[in-house]
């Protein structure tokens, strides 16, 4: 079990960070990177997101639907995306990576992370369904998420470069 802060401040209001929600995404990220790309990953920090700005030039986004609703986003600086995708796809020459490779690779990495988390969250109020991932490539873009649901930001480090995973997921409300 990951050791994370029990709460964090957002807009002056203390919003609980639910360890049960975020830990499956953290362990899923580590497993996908290590098993599929042979790249060890360290979790650096966990916080709540305060704006919609993205961290890197390349972001994979997946809407999460079903009982719980929200989104998961993974963002990389280009250099790290190139490194990870080349290992993931078994492409020896990193310089030969093209935009299609990045879109395919980052989309599938996100799909696997979400899939691992989904399995670990089965039978909780955070159980969700996967959707088809979308990958955005660009600079200084923003991606919004529901204001009503806290967005957790996990910073990871791989090959001495950082990437970010954002999870915003509203649990299933039990019927009264």
């Amino acid at each position: 079990m990951e050791n994370v802060d029990s709460s964090s401040k957002q807009g002056g209001r203390r919003v609980p960070l639910d360890v049960r929600l975020i830990n499956p995404f953290i362990s899923g990220t580590k497993e996908v990177f290590e098993v599929m790309a042979g790249i060890p990953v360290k979790r650096k920090s966990l916080s709540l997101k305060k704006d919609y700005k993205m961290f890197g030039e390349i972001s994979g986004i997946m809407g999460l639907t079903g009982e719980a609703v929200g989104s998961i986003i993974i963002s990389f600086p280009k250099k790290l995306a190139d490194n990870v995708v080349s290992k993931f796809l078994g492409i020896e020459n990193v310089e030969s990576i093209n935009e299609d490779d990045i879109r395919d690779g980052v989309g599938e990495i996100l799909n696997m992370i979400a899939g691992k988390a989904k399995t670990l969250l089965a039978s909780t109020e955070y159980y969700f369904k996967l959707s088809i991932p979308t990958v955005i490539i660009g600079q200084n873009y923003e991606i919004s998420h529901s204001k009503d649901t806290p967005c957790m930001v996990v910073i990871f480090e791989a090959t001495n470069l950082q990437f970010v995973l954002q999870v915003s997921l509203a649990p299933h409300k039990k019927q009264e």
């Binding site: 497993e31 796809l89 395919d104 690779g105 599938e108 696997m112 691992k116 399995t119 089965a122």
Partner: protein, 126 residues
Amino acid sequence: MGMSDIKVLIVDGSSAMRRIIGKVLKNMGITEILQAADGVDAISLLSDTSVDLILADWNMPRMNGLRMVKKLREKKGTASIPIIMVTTEAERSSVVEAIKAGANNYLAKPFTPDALTKKIKETLHL
């Protein structure tokens, strides 16, 4: 049956996954590799082509892997083709559902090349 005689169909919406699985197959010595991006394309391809093994994802556009397995099992020509589901849908209930629908084996993503090789050999009794 030698590895070079085996024809495999990979059905996955992700071209990245098709590429990764294809590399594992080639490393096993399997060279006859066909690809489809979803269940609709796979069923269309199998209407006039026979294969020895299908590796199928679950979540795909147009027709998902589970529906595809059910449809293939209903048809005489495809009813007995071994199918391995290679998917992120790894909950026990999903595995049971896929096996009930007619899948022969199941492998959760992420997977190592060794794990996929083992599942293929196990399924084809090699």
